[in-house]
Amino acid sequence: MNEMSPTKSERAAALKGLGTSRKRVEDSRFTQGKGNYIDDIKMPGMLFGDFVRSPYAHARVKSINAERALEMPGVIAVLTAADLEPLSLHWMPTLAGDKQMVLADGKVLFQGQEVAFVVAEDRYIAADAIELVEVDYEELPVLIDPMKAEEDGAPILREDIADQKTGAHGARRHPNHIFTWEQGEKEATEAVLSGADVVAEETVYYHRTHPCPLETCGCVASMDKVNGKLTLYGTFQAPHVVRTVASLLSGIAEHNIRVISPDIGGGFGNKVGVYPGYVCSIVASIVTGVPVKWVEDRMDNLMATAFARDYWMTGKIAATKEGKITGLWCHTIADHGAFDACADPTKFPAGFMNICTGSYDIPTAYLAVDGIYTNKAPGGVAYRCSFRVTEAAYFIERMIEVLAIKLDMDAGELRKINFIKKDQFPYNSALGWEFDSGDYHTAWDKAMQAVDYDGLRKEQAERVEAFKTGETRKMMGIGLAHFTEIVGAGPMKNCDILGMGMFDSCEIRIHPTGSAIARLGTISQGQGHATTFAQILASEIGISADDITIEEGDTDTAPYGLGTYGSRSTPVAGAATAMAGRKIRAKAQMIAAYLLEVHDNDIEWDVDRFVVKGAEERFKTMKEVAYAAYNQEIPGVEPGLEAVSYYDPPNMTYPFGAYVCVMDIDVDTGEHEIRKFYALDDCGTRINPMIIEGQVHGGLTEALAIAMGQEIAYDDMGTHKTSTLMDFFIPTAWETPHYLTDFTETPSPHHPIGAKGVGESPNVGGVPAFSNAVNDAFRAFGVDHTHTNMPHDHWRIWKTAKDLGMHD
């Protein structure tokens, strides 16, 4: 080797592969205002659609008169259910096996429901025309509280299925009941509870909220009648699924539909579902023969598409006097709103709520979830979490704290006693999951040391004394959380959505001069896929990430995949990328061996080249191989260098983490100040540490919002009370704390590169950490006070202090 040759580590660094904090390739266009989001798309002759929405939560629609609207200059059409019915498009299937009205068919079931679709020359005219559509409603009694859904005399919401005793997920016991989903062993768990030393009970409400990405949902439908092709641009987190559903609904053959997700301004689960706006835009484009755009405004978004959570979780947790947990029981009332439109894998109507045993070795457990219809918007999406995993993590992390109070134990110590031990992995949980890998004690100890946990508890005890002597009016809360996520849905043996298996894919083409393009079935909404997937590939095939283009979101060019949500891109499409890269390398090895005039087995891979074993001066780089693949006759080998992989994961991945929040609370004003937030995440192999940290910051801030103020609230009449950003809390830079991030690295044993996914962990772990801090601040002041529900806004915190007699 001459002195000019780069060393092996220099060659590896030049690839900018796994583990590199590579700067993002997306940023140039975004920082210069050159992103291409849905509302930036403009087509010749394009019309604009907007909805007439219901002012009532429950009412019959007696008549709709669009005459005055149609007389208005610039109004092209007004669609109602009667117009869609001949096409059988007045209802559509939901992702959860239910059906949903596209436009009000005889009645409305939530405030903000789509009643008619006005198509006009511009958005101002459409907005004006909406006011001119006359709808005659007859109000009906409203059902808002899911606990009252099955009472005598409760209004029947879904008259269309009132007589159906069986739904998509088994037996229904009442017209307002959707399903009961049971996991684990009921009798065995009840036996454990009745014989236990200690049982702690609590009802924990995880309130209704909303993903609220900064960009709302929207689409542009363009039917080309000459060629019979439909092009649908939209804010779709799963473009291929949208294509298949659009084909099944419209009858247009799938090859004649092209779905394109352009740049997406955040998703967080909001953009997984199929919404009436998409169906109406497609129909309107078919009817008018020109492109039709529909983009929600913020009120539309918060009122009608994709709420999250709304789980009433009642738990019982049993333990020995020493604190060893022996059993867990959970019953959940799940408020699904007017239609069951959850975006969960088909076999999991309550998502992965059965991860609610958390990070703990709990031998016996039982979970039952009852889905209920109410007069609220449909949705039930996974807001920055895998399906219902945030609910599960919040439940168990609150139950642990409540148990600690009951046992008069330190909540940190209680967790340590019960963690699944490193040597127990792979671990089979009582509710049916096989946790792939973990090392909880190491992570926990690292976290406790980093924050000086013992010092914090000492300071807290001193603060309590100071409060009692009147020296301070500020309490101190220490919020602990250790979460285990379940992401990467999922294995086709148990994961599908509407029958579509939840694999994902990657297709790679190496160009003759040694650069490449890779296309995936996923779609970035800010996660930085164009940056990170190139890094995975760089490490696999020895081409610099800078020389690899990543493309997603165009169903005409990208291989079929199930999209991006539930932290599944890295676990599933990331695995497909690595596997496709390995196929490239396998073919490249044959070509390199031919060029080096040795047997395939006599060469080995070395960062970016194949070298002859024992003679590393004899090598062919991937770049040289690529050129030869296209330009040289290689006996027995087809020209070209391409590969595709469809990856069906053998298991989910199980990222975990240890979070600590230190909060000061003013008992007189209810205001809080987050003094410290420490987040240790273990997401397995780390692809791009810079992006991981950014994801953690963002996820924690969404958790902060949810825990401390954000909610979708209705009054008793079903009036939506939080439909603008005036009422729906989104933290600003001023309210957001500075976060400390840390990590351990426990690779997934079944993922090709050991990665687990991270985007949603901070929301899953963050919510209990913030909430536990608030609850912990009051632990010393009420023997019976074990829990207050979120969101912990100033009023609720003030009220807790008042109820505990702290204002006297």
């Binding site: 940023d27 266009r29 210069q32 900064l214 963002g698 600003t732 830079a733």
Partner: protein, 163 residues
């Protein structure tokens, strides 16, 4: 509805357009002038995705009538810098990972640009307060603050070097 004749300077160029009196500046910029850097996130002045600079002040163009901008000097993200003359804020947002989905970024950078003229040497706390009119759902602001602090340092160093 009858239209008004509106003349503005946008990103250093004289532009003229016809717009209804009720038309918002953001819609005139995006729909009539094809300047799509500023975005619409809320229509109620809360999110700041539509922030532009108007006569030396940050405004939320979703709540300014285009008619109010008649005769004004308007700067959007497109006017701050491009491929051949990147603004240091644009560089620092990339360098410090101050963006993810990018939807808030044009408004965020446009506001930061004005903020640093109002306060060229801010503390982290002042940055957080000065940027509180612009919401971001992805980043948790930590790296946005870092990027703005870094840009302030660079701009001040360049100013000193020039003196």
């Amino acid at each position: 509805m009858s239209k008004m004749h509106i003349k503005m300077t946008v990103n250093g160029k004289q532009v003229e357009t016809l717009a209804e009196p009720r038309e918002l500046l953001i819609h005139v910029l995006r729909e009539r002038l094809d300047i799509t850097g500023p975005h619409i996130g809320c229509e109620t002045s809360h999110c700041g995705a539509c922030t532009v600079d108007m006569d030396g002040k940050s405004v939320k163009s979703c709540t300014v009538f285009a008619a109010q901008a008649n005769g004004a000097d308007v700067t959007t993200i497109e006017g701050l810098g491009g491929p051949d003359n990147l603004h240091v804020l644009q560089e620092m947002f990339k360098e410090h990972h101050g963006l993810q989905c990018g939807f808030c970024t044009p408004g965020m950078i446009t506001r930061a640009h004005r903020f640093l003229q109002e306060n060229p040497d801010p503390t982290e706390e002042e940055v957080r307060f000065g940027m509180a009119g612009n919401l971001c759902r992805c980043t948790g602001y930590q790296n946005i603050v870092k990027a703005i602090m870094a840009a302030a340092s660079e701009m001040n160093a360049a100013k000193e070097a020039a003196q």
